[in-house]
Every structure is written in C-alpha cells, then in structure tokens.
C-alpha cells in the first residue's frame, strides 16, 4: 500500500518517502475533560483517605425520628377532633372505603361461577373469544390454587384504585395536554412520582388513613395515576393537527373538538393508559399487604417471613396469572379501540347482550346449586409441596455454588463499597456529588442532587442510606452488564430477539413482589438476595432499551462500516455501542431507579438498611418515626440517583455540539 493517494499517478522512482511537510500533524489538545475527571477522582480518593471516619452508627433517636413520632402522636390524638381530619382525610377514607365495599360486594355477589363468567364475558366483548378463554382459565386457576378469596380481594383493591385513577387521571391528562400551564405544573410532579419506590408511599398513607383497605387503595391510586395522566396527555397531543384544523374550519366549538375529534382519536391510547394503570396498580396492591391490605400480597408476605417458598409460589403464580389476564384484555381492547375498526351495529349490540345473559345465568346457577357457594375443593391443586421439594433440592445440591457466589460478591464487591460509602463523611460525599453531578449532568441537576444528600443527612439515616446505596450500586452494575449483553445479542441476532421477546413481555407484566421468590429460593434471606431480585426485576427494561438503541443505529452507517472492512467486534465497539450511547444512558437511568425500588422491597428478605426500617416502622409502634423517615430517605436517594443519571443521558446529546469547533 502506498502512503499517499497522490503517489499512485507518480512513477515509482519519483516517490518522495518524506511525509508532506504541509500535512498538519496530530494536534496537541489542551488537557481535556478526561484528564480533569481523572484528577478529580484522584483528589477525592486522597481526601477520603485523610478524612475518613470509623463508620459511627447513626444517632439512635435523631431529631427527625422524634419529629415524625411527634406528628404521629398528634395525629392519633386529634384524628377525631381536628377539622383537617374530621372534614378532610376521614371523609376521603370513608368514601374510598365505601367504593371498595361496593366493588367487594359486587364481585362476591356474583359468586365464583358468576365472576368467572363475568371475566370471560367482558373479555369476549372487548377483546375477543381467545382472550375470553384465557380469562376463564385464569380465573378458574385462582380457585384451583386454593386462593380464590385472596385473588378476588386483590382484584377488588386493584379495580377500585384503577377506577379512581382513571376518573381522576384521564381528565387531568386531557387538561395537561390542552392547558400548557397545567402541563407545566404536572410534569415535575409526575417525574418525582414515577421514581418514588413503592415502599415510600406506605408510611404516610397509614398516618393519614390508618392501615387497611382504604389506605392501600389510596397508595395504589397515587402509584398508578402518573402513567394514566401521562399516556392520556400523549394520546391527546398526538391527534393529527390536520384533522383538528379541518374540524375547526368546519366551525366546531372547543368542546365539540374535544368530544368529537380529540377523544375519539385518542381512544386507543387512553385504553393503553388504563392498561398501564392496571399493571402499576396490581404491583402496588400486592405490596400494600404490608399495611394490612387483604389479598395475595398477605399470602406472600407471610410465606416469605417463614421462608416458605412453596406457599409463596402459589400466590405468586396467581398474581402473574391475574396480571397476564388483565394485561391481555386491556391491550387487545386498545387495539380494538382504534377508530379504524368497524363492526356492524347488530354485532356490536349482540355481543354485550349475550355476555350479560351468560353472566346472569352463571350467577343464578351458582347461587342456587350447592357447589356454587364455594370453589369445589375437589378441583384444588397446589405447587407448594413440589416447589418446596425443588427448593430443598437446590439448596442441597447447589448450596456450595450459591453460597460461594453470594460470598464472593458480598466480600469482593458489596463490603468494600459499603465500607467506603459509610466511612465517607457526609460533607465529602456532598462535595463529590456536587462536583461530579455538575460535570455529568449540569449545575441544576447537581444542586438538586446535593439537596437530596443534605436531606438524607437531616433525616438522621446517613449510614442506612449509604448501605442501601452500596447495594443499589452493585445491583445496577450487574443489571447493566446483563442488560447490555442480552440487549446487544438481541439486536444482532434476530432469532435470539425472537425467543427473548415473549420472555421480556412476561417479565414486564409481573408485579415486582414476585421477583423476590426465585431469589429467596436460591439464596435464602440476605442482602445478596435483594440484589438478585433487583437484577431480575430491572434487567428486562434495560435489555429492551439497549436493544432498541443498538437497532436504531441507521443501517446506512452500519453498512458503511462493514464496507470498510470492520470485524463484527469493531462494528460493535466503534459504531453500534457509541451510537447507542443515549439509549444506554437511558437504560442506566431506568435500571437504577428500578433497582432502588426492588432493593428496598428486599428489606423484607434480609436486605436491611432503609427497606428494613420501613418494614419495621409498620410492625412496631415505637419505630414509626424511623420508618417514616426511611420512607423519605428512599425518595431522596431516588431523586439523587435519578438526577445524576438522567442528566448524563441528556448531556450525551448536546455535549458534542456545544464543544467549540476548532
């Protein structure tokens, strides 16, 4: 190969071997960002070595705990006298309680046969007969598993919360889309609500609404409402401008536009919003077992406390079945809601009529006959024994392997990180967050993150927060590693993606609680268990985002790189991954928020720290203040992690545009 293009036309003997003096050499760059970051890291390490403390335990009874306990005492003393409660929260509780009782009465009034028929009929009408079969089989399985009442209780709470979420969320979504001021106010609120781990909602709810179904319903409502608002708003804003223009040109009023153009066109999206609200609600309802809500969650919590994986498995299975049935019904309904689907009027009326007749018949038959009162015991089946045997087998045969893995990760990764974090004085941590936050996400995000750190200090839970953070970091690293590997594999091998997709779909419809089960089965109760559960929980969306990021790299760029002779590995490292950087950072942001949510739930299975504080707060009266403070600490930790990573994703885009061209 000759050294310069111009040489080709020149006779060989005329080639001047000396490089062209005019050709500019590589430029010396000023010490770049990278050097700066390296220096800062070194400086941080040096300062840490000088000022590290010997990890003192947190204050036993800091100001914040006493404050929250005081609040609680005040609330308890004044619940029946303060106007705030008398005319506010208590009415809210009564109203929600009434709603829950009504739904409860309706579902139980149908009897099991009637309810199974109702599920099938509803599915048949809105989603087609295949889904109807699925719904019937699914509901029957609740009875077969011996969890009929628990399942119906869960369904009652879910439906109540979703009903409220839709009634409030859809109008709010429309408002947010149509009134810019409302949208601007709602957006940051929704942002924070969506990164709040489920656990953080519970304690404040008990304070205001006591424990039990109403508090659970309201917590679920708060958790499920953000997607309802968001997606509805999205659906309304996505209505094509030209259609609206045409309707306006014909003289429609604003209300006519909304009722006759915007809402009908946004209908499939709104059904999707309902779907999302249902899935969120279901996963929250299960967790509200911790504040005494009835249902499948109770079964799981009790089983987990006894580390009875088998018993938890049946309940977990019932939850998954419920999730799948509800998801399929609503996603198919969303497809059917598309304005382009037409069916004849007669067919449209006939379906519901037949459905109602079927439900009435099943209910009446069930009421009259002896077998209708309770689900026939003869049909029962349980996986508990089998699962417990399998778990025991695994424990027995894999003990060395699982134990080794647990110990290696704990000793090699978790403990060192935890030690460093807990022995760092809070002010050093704050400075580091401010500096690196500003570098990676800009000053605004850094200040918010810094305030979150200050809040953690103020809550008096510094040590616990750092322990939780250590667990979150380890789990996030593992999540990203698995997520990138599977995401890249999926993007590069269509067949792999084809196999993986239904697994991911299923994984993403499962409520988070269920993920604890396999982790507990393999690793017993420990910090590591929480990490495993968090990884299983957070990997699917990360895989999705990574795969999308890599697949979104334009085919033209990939082709150009291949035509230059890139090896598959070079293509991945030099083209696909760098170009998918935004997707990767988005995945990291999502992953870290989900990991935090799950690590906290891991407090139930031995993860300790903040999650345990929250659980203990429900269990013991004297720990209430601490539990509530821990709930807030979790939120602050979430804000901290989210700001630091979300900003990085946004900056990846404009960073390079902002750099001056030389």
């Amino acid at each position: 190969m000759s050294t310069a293009v111009t040489d080709v036309t020149v006779p060989a003997e005329a080639v001047d071997p000396a490089p062209d003096p005019a050709a500019p050499g590589p430029r010396r760059k000023l010490p770049g960002r990278r050097t700066l970051i390296l220096l800062l890291v070194l400086a941080t390490a040096a300062v840490y070595l000088v000022v590290r403390t010997s990890a003192p335990a947190d204050d036993d009874n800091p100001w914040a705990f006493r404050f929250f306990s005081g609040v609680r005492d005040w609330v308890d003393a004044n619940r029946d006298t303060s106007p705030l409660f008398l005319y506010g929260f208590n009415y809210l509780r009564l109203g929600v309680s009434l709603l829950v009782d009504t739904v409860h009465g309706a579902l139980y009034g149908l009897g099991w046969a009637g309810l199974v028929a109702a599920a099938g009929a509803l599915a048949a009408v809105v989603a087609g007969w295949r889904i109807a079969l699925l719904a019937v089989a699914g509901f029957l399985s609740f009875g077969v598993l011996g969890l009929w009442e628990e399942s119906v209780d869960t369904l009652v709470l879910t439906l109540s919360a979703v009903l409220l979420a839709v009634l409030i969320g859809v109008p709010l979504g429309v408002l947010a889309a149509r009134v810019p001021a409302v949208g601007a106010v709602l957006r940051p609120v929704l942002d924070v609500m969506q990164i709040m781990p489920t656990f953080a909602y519970l304690a404040p709810m008990t304070l205001l609404f006591l424990i039990g179904s109403p508090a659970a319903t309201i917590a679920t409502l708060i958790y499920a409402i953000p997607p309802a608002i968001r997606i509805t708003a999205l659906g309304i804003t996505e209505v094509p401008k030209s259609t609206v223009e045409a309707a306006t040109a014909l003289g429609s009023t604003r209300w006519q536009l909304l009722g006759k153009v915007r809402l009908p066109l946004a209908r499939p999206t709104i059904v999707l919003a309902v779907n999302q609200a249902i899935m969120m609600a279901l996963s929250m309802v299960v967790i509200t077992a911790l504040i005494d809500a009835p249902g499948l969650g109770q079964t799981i919590v009790q089983a987990l406390e006894r580390v009875n994986v088998g018993a938890a498995f049946d309940a977990g299975l019932a939850i998954v079945v419920l999730a799948v049935v509800l998801d399929r019904i609503t996603t198919h309904a969303a497809h059917r809601a598309a304005p382009t689907t037409h069916r004849s009027v007669r067919l449209r009326l006939a379906g519901p009529v037949v459905a109602v007749v079927a439900v009435v018949a099943a209910t009446v038959l069930g009421r009259m006959s002896s077998w209708g009162a309770e689900f026939p015991a003869a049909w029962r089946a349980s996986f508990a024994v089998g699962v417990n045997e399998a778990t025991r087998w695994v424990e027995f045969h894999w003990y060395d392997a699982t134990e080794a893995l647990k110990n290696v990760v704990s000793a090699g990764l978790l403990d060192p990180i935890e030690t460093v974090l807990t022995t760092t004085p809070w002010w050093l941590f704050l400075v580091v967050v401010l500096i690196f936050g500003a570098l990676s996400s800009g000053p605004r995000a850094a200040v918010i993150a810094g305030l979150a750190v200050a809040g953690l200090v103020g809550l008096g839970l510094w040590q616990h927060a750092m322990q939780t953070l250590a667990t979150v970091l380890v789990a996030t690293v593992a999540t990203m590693a698995f997520g990138i590997v599977f995401g890249v594999l999926g993007a590069r091998h269509d067949r792999f993606a084809l196999v993986m997709r239904p697994v991911l779909d299923a994984a993403q419809t499962m409520p988070s609680f269920v993920y604890l089960l396999p982790a507990v089965a393999l690793f017993g109760a420990s910090r590591f268990t929480a990490i495993v559960a968090a990884v299983i929980y957070a990997v699917p969306p990360v895989v999705r985002l990574v795969e999308r990021g890599v697949r979104d790299v334009p085919a033209t760029v990939v082709e150009a790189a291949v035509s230059s002779g890139s090896t598959p590995r070079q293509l991945l490292w030099k083209v696909q991954l760098p170009m998918a950087r935004r997707g990767l950072l988005l995945a990291a942001n999502q992953g870290i928020v989900m990991v935090l949510a799950m690590v906290v739930v891991g407090g139930l299975v031995g993860a300790g720290a903040l999650g345990y504080d929250v659980v203990a707060g429900f269990a013991q009266r004297e720990d209430f203040g601490k539990g509530l403070a821990a709930g807030f600490a979790i939120v602050l930790l979430g804000v901290l992690l989210d700001r630091l990573t979300q900003g990085a994703g946004r900056r990846a885009d404009d960073n390079r545009l902002r750099r001056p061209a030389t």
Partner: protein
C-alpha cells in the same frame, strides 16, 4: 492484464426460496411474474460485464432496477445468489470472511448515497476509520486523513462533527473516507442524488479531477443520464435487474439497443455526444471534395462551423482510410434531433 472487476452471470434473488430460482425455468420468467408465482424478487438477473483498470464504469437505470443490489454484490455486502465476481482475478465468492475483510479494507472502498458517516466522531476520525480498524497508529492515520482532507478540499474542517457540515461537505467526507485507505477500486452508489443540482455539478467535477489525479477504477451508480454521460467511459443500462446495453456514451446515444434505452437518451443533444462517424455518407462518384479531411472521432458540435462554411462536402477519415463525407445536410438532423441512420 485481467480486468479489475469481472462479473459473470451474476444473480441476486430476494425472497423465501431464493436459491430455488436460478437454473430452473422460473429464471426465464419476467420479474413481475416470478414475483407473483413465488414471492421472490430477482433484483439482479444474469448480469455479466468487465471493468478495465482505470476505467470509469457507470451503471444506470430507473429506481428499483437493481443498481444498488448489483454494486453491493461486488464486495458481498449483499450475498449473491449465483454467478461469480472476480476482482483483480480473485474469486470474491470463494473468499473466507477474513480475506473478504482484507478486500474491503485495502482493495475496494465505497461511497454511499446517504453518506453513512459516524455522527459521534469528528471529521478526521471519520476519515481515519478505515485505517483505525486496520490497526494503523493514531499519528499516522491522522496524518493520512489530513492528506485526503486536503485532496477533497475540506481543509480546516477536521475537528467538526458531520452534522455541522452541509450535505455536499458531508459527501466530501464520505469520499475522503473511501480514499483514505488508498483502494484500487471505488464504488459509488448514487453518491450525489441527495445533493442539490449546483453542488452535484461541483462534486462531479471533483470526481473527474480525482480520477485524473489518482487514477482509480471507478464503478459509479446513478439514475441521472447527464451524470452518466459526463463521467462514464462506459455505461451499463439496467432494467428490471438485467443489463440491456453496455457501451460508450456514444454507442448508447447513437445506437440504443431497445426502446427503453432510446427513451433514456431521447433528450440528449446528439451533436454533443456523437462523432462524425455516425453521420457520414458515401461520396458520389464524381463529387468534388474539400482537401482537408476531418477525423472520424471528432464530436459533431466541434465541426459545425467548418462544415457549414465549406463549399464542398468534407471527407471523414479514420486513420488513413476515408470512411465517407459530411456536408450540411448530414449535420442538420443531428442538430435538430432527428434519428440518424444506424452506421453500417
């Protein structure tokens, strides 16, 4: 010397049973019928041609005629269904992945219609990409990138990012990237169709200049006839995946193989492309002729003045041999666009 590129009975069939078409009676069906019967699409049908060293070979045809597919089959960016491609005498379809990468790294580079630049890299690193993946050191590849940058007239833009450049400049980067590895063959797939007409003309001039300077073998895809005529030493016209004619611009305009080609070249000013060879007539036995003959290869437009001023017909010679004469009567149909007689 073997031709730089030799293509032999090349087929590319897309579809579910692609390999069950070639060599069966199905192969003789027209494209549309094949598609209706089997769901397969013959994007390239039985194409053969050879490109000589240093030649500019243009492939032309309507959208969907298979040009892009053909050019991608040359380096197996698209795997051919059957047939053979030789580059510098070596069978491309027999190459293992490693050898194929070598070919793409050193032998054949490509310029794309949509540029395919890496948005996360500065111009200089885009250009040096080919060298980087070969393991060339940073200093050396940046030196080399700076050289080709000068060659394509982009001095001073090395530290910008692709989206900070105009379309024309981006394509110059694409061109520089292809030149950086100093390949013997450059493939262009409609490199300028995304650019506006003025810039396109600039870039065509650029390619002509580069070809003169660096003397590479070029395969140039276009659906723009003017571009084809101005760049091509020879032009291949494709239709529905098959080659309908391969020839010099003159042959295409003077003797279109069928109506499809004739349609293509209808608007071409014939006097600008055709030489005298196409319009001579035999001299009458006792005709008086001008003394000074014209060479047969002269483009008609360049002879207008002399022919019109001459009092007698002018003899036309090919070397020493007289092949006929021209006078104003022969010239006028070429100028006004009437179809000339096919030469004997």
């Amino acid at each position: 010397m073997p031709p730089t590129i030799a293509v032999d009975h090349l087929w590319k069939v897309f579809g579910p049973k692609a390999d069950k078409v070639v060599g069966t009676p199905l192969a003789d069906l027209p494209r549309a019928e094949l598609r209706a019967q089997t769901g397969c699409l013959a994007a390239v049908r039985d194409v053969s041609f050879a490109v000589e060293p240093g030649e500019v070979f243009v492939v032309m045809g309507l959208s969907g005629s298979g040009k892009s597919t053909l050019v991608r089959c040359l380096t197996r960016l698209i795997e051919p269904t059957s047939g053979e491609v030789h580059i510098d005498g070596e069978a491309v379809r027999a190459m293992n992945p490693k050898r194929l990468r070598e070919l793409r790294r050193h032998g054949v580079a490509m310029v794309f219609q949509h540029f395919g630049l890496l948005p996360h890299r500065q111009v200089v690193d885009n250009i040096a990409y080919g060298l980087e993946i070969q393991g060339v050191g940073k200093a050396e590849r940046h030196r080399r990138a700076a050289e080709v940058l000068t060659l394509v007239g982009l001095d001073g833009h090395e530290h910008q990012y692709p989206d900070q450049l105009s379309g024309g400049m981006q394509q110059r980067v694409g061109l520089a990237r292809a030149l950086a590895t100093d390949p013997a063959v450059l493939l262009f797939d409609e490199p300028f169709s995304a650019l506006d007409p003025l810039i396109r003309r600039d870039m065509q001039a650029e390619v002509r200049r580069l070809h003169a300077e660096v003397g590479k073998t070029l395969v140039f895809i276009t659906h723009d006839l003017a571009e084809a005529l101005s760049l091509g030493d020879r032009i291949a016209v494709m239709r529905d995946g098959a080659l309908v004619q391969v020839g010099t611009p003159e042959e295409l305009v003077g003797a279109p193989a069928d109506d499809y080609v004739a349609d293509f070249v209808r608007e071409v000013p014939r006097a600008d492309v055709l030489s005298l060879r196409w319009i001579t007539r035999d001299a009458a036995p006792d005709e008086v002729l001008e003394d000074q003959p014209l060479p047969a290869g002269t483009v008609i437009r360049d002879t207008i003045e002399r022919v019109l001023r001459a009092r007698h017909p002018i003899p036309v010679v090919d070397g020493d041999e007289r092949i006929g004469v021209v006078d104003a009567e022969q010239l006028l149909p070429a100028l006004t666009g009437h179809r000339p007689p096919v030469p004997a």
